[in-house]
Amino acid sequence: MNLDDVFLNPERLWWWIVVPVLVALYIWIMRRKRRTGMRYTNTAVLGAVIPRQSQWRRHLAVAMSLASLVTIIAAWARPNGVERVPRERATIVLVIDVSQSMRATDVKPNRLDAAKQLSKEFVSTLPPKYNVAVVSLSGSPAVKLPPSTDRGLALRAIDGLTTQDSTAFGPALQTALAAVQMAPKGDNGEPAPGAVVLLSDGANTATESPLQAAQALAKAKIPVYTIAYGTENGSVDLDGVRQRVPPDRELMQQIANATKGTFSSAESAGQLDNVYKNLSSQVGFEEVKKETTAMWAGYGLAFAVVAALAAVSLGARWP
């Protein structure tokens, strides 16, 4: 993390040097105390009769004023914070694997039916202004639903998914990119930011490199949130032959990293539900840099008030 990203005027942080100087000065003055006090002879009785004054208020006042100095200097350097702002509009492309391996029953009732059910729930939690597109992931990926705000269409498109042969990540990602670009432009002429949610349970069977397609998505600044679906020992009967169909977690992780998305893994319907819930909060908000000077100044003010109260309680003679 670069200091320039965090502070707009990082050069003003040099003033923090004042703080250790003040601390050193304070300690030095404490050492010198022996020479500054009033001499008094009858201290044995004085010490026995007059209660020991606790010194914490004195130190608290100093510590709090130093803390307030630190935060106020930080505020002066104009710090940037990251704030999550709800997105006005976005295009979410739901890429759902429909390969034969989705028939595996390690997720009840089977992978595809469970994924359909939870995907529909996910779609209905998205803000109504979001465009949702559905892409089926198989040997020949297709846009089942172009970007649309009509949730009924989206639910029907998800319901209509049926299993097909083979799994081609590369073409599917390119199809998803095309689907994002199909979205209508906003009032200001800019396309809505897009995001791809990729749910898959199998390994790549096509020759096209999925990572190359991922690079194209990364260039378009479209994050791909990948979900590795299914368990390691899921299996499916194909033409009377029993085949193991574990998800390719490594590939999914690489895709997510390449496009600055996130990777998650769901081995059951419950886990998939959790993943979808996280995703809906991730794609629903965007992180915006915002100057947080006021917050830091507020902390400084709080420290200063505590310091002032401590100092007043020390010195003031109340009437």
């Binding site: 002879t41 009785v45 004085l46």
Partner: protein, 349 residues
């Protein structure tokens, strides 16, 4: 046109009050202000204990010799005794010639112990306690300036006890006082183990002739928080031992601010002897009242301990006229001294 002084006003001269801020650098009283010598000539300090000097003086001695006080009658030894001393009444009654012996009149030897530990270098009202103690020694010195009386001094520093030999005469007394005034001021926190008890012990060990002993101190032991008068302070036993052979006067010097704590807000207080250091909120009226009561109890304990040791007690304060206080003491002392300084019973003296 009048000359204008452009030099900035220097720090005001605080006098003895500066001792609150730092240890004083010199005595706060000049030699000629210690005691009004002429005014004290008409007063006389009552001496009740018997002396054992070797010169002819004005005080009652212990042994037979030419003097004014009559002693036993004894048989006349021809050729040795003076016929003018015949005791005719005894001779007539016993039919044997008797002479009346007299007890020699001896000179007085006074020794004064001056405590100059750092706690004495303190005072808020014109003089430090140490200089008030020297003034008290001067006053008592002039009161005891009769024929042949000698005056010696001990200066108790934390590291050693300096001894000024006893000599007779006004000039010798002035020399002793000047020596005490010019004694270097003891720095705060000086190393050394001499406390008042050790000082009195050293004075008792001096084994000089019987006489008058004056102990000048504030009778404060560092770290002694005891207020119960039934508990002996550590200097009481040596003081009683000193009183076995001598007539002892204790001069207690106190500053007003040791008895009444001032209201000066929140201040850091440190001790010139111990490493005591504490912020004290002097605005707290209840705490001040507690302190004043404790200080009064502490002084009462000192008074009772001195009385129990059979010593005379003069209490002087830096804000009062010490000559007046001592003169008043001397007048009252004429009546009480004989009772006060009775030699201990059952002890060979």
């Amino acid at each position: 046109m009048a000359a204008v002084d452009f030099t900035p006003a220097s720090e005001p001269d605080l006098g003895a009050l500066a001792s609150v801020l730092r240890e004083p650098t010199a005595a706060t009283l000049p030699l000629n202000k210690l005691a009004p010598e002429a005014a004290l000539r008409r007063l006389e300090l009552t001496i009740v204990r018997r002396m054992e000097g070797f010169l002819h003086g004005d005080h009652r001695g212990l042994l037979p010799g030419p003097g004014s006080e009559t002693n036993d009658a004894r048989i006349y030894v021809p050729g040795q005794d003076d016929v003018r001393k015949m005791d005719w009444a005894v001779t007539a009654r016993t039919q044997i010639p008797h002479v009346r012996d007299t007890i020699a009149d001896r000179e007085l030897e006074v020794w004064a112990l001056l405590d100059v530990t750092p706690s004495m270098n303190w005072g808020t009202e014109g003089v430090t306690k140490r200089d008030l103690g020297i003034a008290a020694i001067a006053t008592i010195g002039f009161l005891t300036q009769q024929m042949g009386d000698r005056f010696g001094g001990l200066i108790m520093r934390p590291d050693k006890i300096a001894r000024i030999p006893a000599r007779s005469g006004r000039m010798a007394l002035y020399g002793l006082l000047r020596r005490m005034l010019t004694e270097p001021i003891v720095k705060d926190h000086s190393a050394g183990s001499f406390e008042l008890a050790a000082g009195i012990e050293a004075m008792a060990r001096l084994q000089r002739r019987r006489g008058l002993r004056v102990v000048v101190s504030d009778f404060l032991s560092a770290g002694d928080t005891e207020l119960d008068p039934n508990v002996e302070p550590d200097w009481e036993r040596p003081l009683r031992r000193l009183g076995v052979r001598n007539q002892v006067l204790c001069v207690e010097v106190v500053d007003r601010r040791e008895l009444e704590f001032p209201d000066v807000g929140d201040i850091l207080i440190r001790d010139p002897e111990s490493d005591f250091q504490r912020y004290v909120n002097t605005s707290d009226a209840a705490a001040r009242a507690r302190f004043d009561a404790a200080a009064a109890a502490q002084r009462e304990r000192v008074r009772i301990a001195i009385r129990r040791a059979g010593a005379g007690h003069i209490s002087l304060r830096t804000d009062r006229d010490w000559v007046y206080d001592i003169a008043r003491f001397v007048l009252a002392y004429r009546r009480t001294a004989a009772m006060l300084h009775q030699p201990p019973q059952g002890v060979s003296v």
